[in-house]
Amino acid sequence: MKLQRTNRLRALAAGALAVSGALVLTACGSDDNTGNGGAAEKAVNNIKCDGQGNLLASGSSAQKNAMDVWVRNYQAACEQTQINYKPTGSGAGVQEFLQGKTAFAGTDSALEPGEVKQSKKVCKKGQGIDLPMVGGPIAVGYNLPGVEDLALDAETLAKIFDSKIKTWDDPAIKKLNPDADLPSTKIQAFHRSDDSGTTDNFTKYLNSAAPDAWKYEPAKKWAAKGGQSASGSSGVATNVKQNEGAIGYFELSYASGNNIPAVALDTGAGEPVEATTANASKAIAEAEIVGKGKDLTLELNYQTKAEGAYPMVLVTYEVVCDTGNAKETLPATKSFLKYAASEDGQKALAEIDYAPMPDEIISKVRKTIDGLA
C-alpha cells in the first residue's frame, strides 16, 4: 500500500511536470516583466510562483505527507524555489521558528501565549500566527476477525484505553453493537510510547467527550496506566494488525494503508459516523475560530452531534509572522502557502487521507496569507 501511495504521488508529480512543461513551452512567447531579481511569475497548475532560493521549514510530522505532496507539486511548477520541510516534530519546529531559523513552522497545537510573546522578537512589529491548513481524522483501528462495522462511543473508548473494559464481549460494547458476534477475546489497547500530537488530540477528544470516563489531562505523553505501547503511528498500526483483539489509534492513512478496519463513532447522531476525510471536514466546520486578530486558532467541538461529523480529528497549523517575515523568504512563503490553501492544494489532501479545511475557514486563511508582510 505504501508502494501504491508513492506511485500515486509519483504519478501526481509526473502529471504536474507534464503540465508545467507544456506551459513553459507556451509561455515562451509572452513577455515576463515582473522584476523580483529575475524570479519569473508563472501560473502553472494554478500555482503562482514568486520569490526564489531556499525555503526552510520544519515541524509536525503529522502533516509530513501533506507537505510532501504540496512541495512536489509546487516545485514542479516553480523551479526557482527549493522548499525543505523537515518533520522534526511540532515542538522542535516551533523552537526553530522562534529562533528565526525557518520561514514557517508546522505544528499540531497552536502557539502558547509564551511562544507568541517570544515570536515578537523574530517578527519585527508583528507576532507569530497560526493558520489551520491540514486536518485529519484519527482512526481507531481494531483487529477482531469476524466483526465488521464496530461502533463505539467516547465513554466506551475511554474505558477501553484506561483498561476498565477488558474483554470484547463487555456489556458496554455489546449494547452499542447488538448485531455483532463479539468474542470474549482480551482487549489489547495500544497507545503511543513517544510524545505525539496524535495522542494529544485523541485524549483531548476523550477528555472533552467523556469527561467522567477519562480523567487524565490531555497531553502529548500518554497519561493512563496499563495497556501496551509502540513507537510511532506505524508501530501502533503494525501491532494492531499483528495481534488479535488489539485496538489502537493512528492517522487514517495508517488504517487504510494497512487494511485495518476503523471504529465508527457513536456521537449521538442518528447513525454511527465512519472515519473518513469528508466526515472529518464536517466536524472541523463545527469548530470555532478563537484566535485573536489574524491568528486563526481553532477550538474544535468534540461533543458535536451533527449528522455525519467525525469529531475525533486533528488540525495542524502553519506558523508564520503576520508582519515582519524575513524579506528574502516572504515572497516564496506567501506563494507556497497560497498554493497550499488554494482549492487544488486542499483537494490534493483528500487523496492522501487528510481532511481538507472547510470553505469558511480556508477562505479566511487565504485572506490572511494575502495580508502577510
Binding site: 513517544d194 496499563g226 501496551q228 513507537s231
Partner: protein, 331 residues
C-alpha cells in the same frame, strides 16, 4: 673458575640496563612510548566520559522534582520535569539476568561440543556459523524479534502461565509478548556467540597432559571435561560471561524494537511493559524538547548504566581473582 671466564670478557647479559640509558635502542623507546601513550589515552578517555556524564547529569538532577532513584515516571518535558530510573534499572538488570541464565549454559555446551566432541569436519563450520551470529546487526535481531519471535511466543507463555503462573513472576494474561522476558530471550541469542567463542578458545587451551592423564586413569569423556577442562576454563568462562553481560546491559535497538515501553514495574516478566536504560535513551532522545533538561536527564540515566557496568565488571574481576587460586590449571 678459569673455565668460567666468558663473563669476564663479554659484557654481562643485563649490561644494557646497568651500563646506562645510552645503549637503549630508539625503536624500544618509541614503542614503549607509544604503548604507554595508548594506555594513558584510554584512561583519559574514560575519565573524560565520566566527567562529562557527571557534569551533564548534575544539571538534570538539580531540576528534577522526583526522586531520581525511586520515581516510576519519565516526564522530562513537563514543567517542572519529573523522572526516575527505578523502572529502567529494574528492566535492564532483569532482562540481562534472563539473557545470562539462558545463554551461558547453552554457550558452554556449544563451546564444549566444538572443542571436545564434534568431529573436526563439523567443528570448523559450526564455529564459523556461531561467529556469523555475532555479525548480524542488532536492528535485524530487533526486527526478527518483533515480527517473528513475538507472535510465536504466545503459546510458550500460555504454557508457562499454566504451570508456573502461581509464582507471579511467570503469570501471563495473554496479549502480544512484548515483555522483558522476550527481550531477555533476544539478548540471550545476541550474546551467545560472544560467550561461546571465548569459552571455546579457553577450553581448547586446557592442558592436554591433564586430559590425557585423566583418560589414562580410566575417566570417561565427561569426567575428563569435569575434572580437567572445566576447572581450567572457569575463570575464562566467567570473563566470557561478563563480556556478554556487558553487551546485554547496553543493547539498544533490539530491545527498543521488541519491547512495549511503559513506566511500571510489573511483577510478571511475561506481561508487556518495562524498559531499559539504553532502550529509553534511544526512544526518548528525539522527543526531547530543546528548552528543558530532557537530554541531560537521559545522560544521567546513561551515567547510572555506566556505574552498573563498572560494578559488574569489578565484581567479575573479584570472582576471577579468587577462583584463580583454586583453579586446577594453576595447581
Amino acid at each position: 673458575m678459569t673455565l668460567d671466564s666468558p663473563p669476564a670478557t663479554a659484557p654481562p647479559p643485563d649490561a644494557d640496563t646497568d651500563g646506562g640509558k645510552a645503549r637503549t635502542r630508539p625503536g624500544d623507546r618509541i614503542f614503549s612510548g607509544l604503548a604507554r601513550g595508548s594506555g594513558i589515552t584510554l584512561l583519559v578517555i574514560m575519565a573524560a566520559i565520566a566527567v562529562f556524564l557527571t557534569w551533564q547529569a548534575s544539571i538534570a538532577l538539580a531540576e528534577n522534582q522526583g526522586n531520581f532513584l525511586t520515581t516510576f515516571e519519565w516526564n522530562v518535558n513537563a514543567d517542572p520535569p519529573v523522572f526516575g530510573i527505578a523502572v529502567l534499572a529494574f528492566g535492564t538488570i532483569v532482562s540481562s539476568i534472563i539473557a545470562m541464565v539462558l545463554a551461558v549454559p547453552v554457550s558452554i555446551g556449544i563451546a564444549l561440543y566444538i572443542s571436545h566432541y564434534a568431529p573436526r569436519k563439523l567443528a570448523a563450520p559450526l564455529a564459523y556459523v556461531v561467529d556469523l551470529l555475532a555479525a548480524v546487526p542488532s536492528i535485524v535481531y530487533g526486527l526478527w524479534g518483533a515480527l517473528f519471535l513475538v507472535p510465536h511466543l504466545t503459546g510458550l507463555y500460555l504454557w508457562m502461565d499454566d504451570y508456573l503462573g502461581w509464582t507471579g513472576v511467570f503469570a501471563y494474561e495473554g496479549g502480544a509478548a512484548r515483555s522483558l522476558f522476550t527481550a531477555g530471550i533476544l539478548l540471550a541469542i545476541m550474546i551467545l556467540p560472544v560467550v561461546s567463542n571465548v569459552s571455546r578458545e579457553v577450553f581448547r587451551q586446557a592442558p592436554k597432559m591433564h586430559e590425557e592423564a585423566a583418560l589414562a586413569l580410566g575417566a570417561t569423556r565427561w569426567e575428563v571435561i569435569r575434572m580437567s577442562v572445566l576447572p581450567f576454563g572457569r575463570s575464562g568462562v566467567i570473563s566470557a560471561s561478563m563480556l556478554g553481560l556487558g553487551r546485554a546491559l547496553g543493547e539498544t535497538m533490539a530491545v527498543a524494537t521488541v519491547l512495549s515501553p511503559s513506566f511500571l514495574i510489573d511483577p510478571s516478566l511475561l506481561d508487556p511493559g518495562g524498559g531499559t536504560f539504553a532502550q529509553n535513551i534511544a526512544a526518548s532522545f528525539k522527543e526531547v524538547s530543546p528548552a528543558g533538561v530532557g537530554r541531560e536527564a537521559l545522560i544521567a540515566s546513561g551515567l547510572v548504566l555506566f556505574v552498573i557496568t563498572l560494578l559488574v565488571n569489578g565484581l567479575a574481576r573479584l570472582i576471577i581473582a579468587r577462583r584463580k587460586d583454586y583453579s586446577g590449571a594453576n595447581a
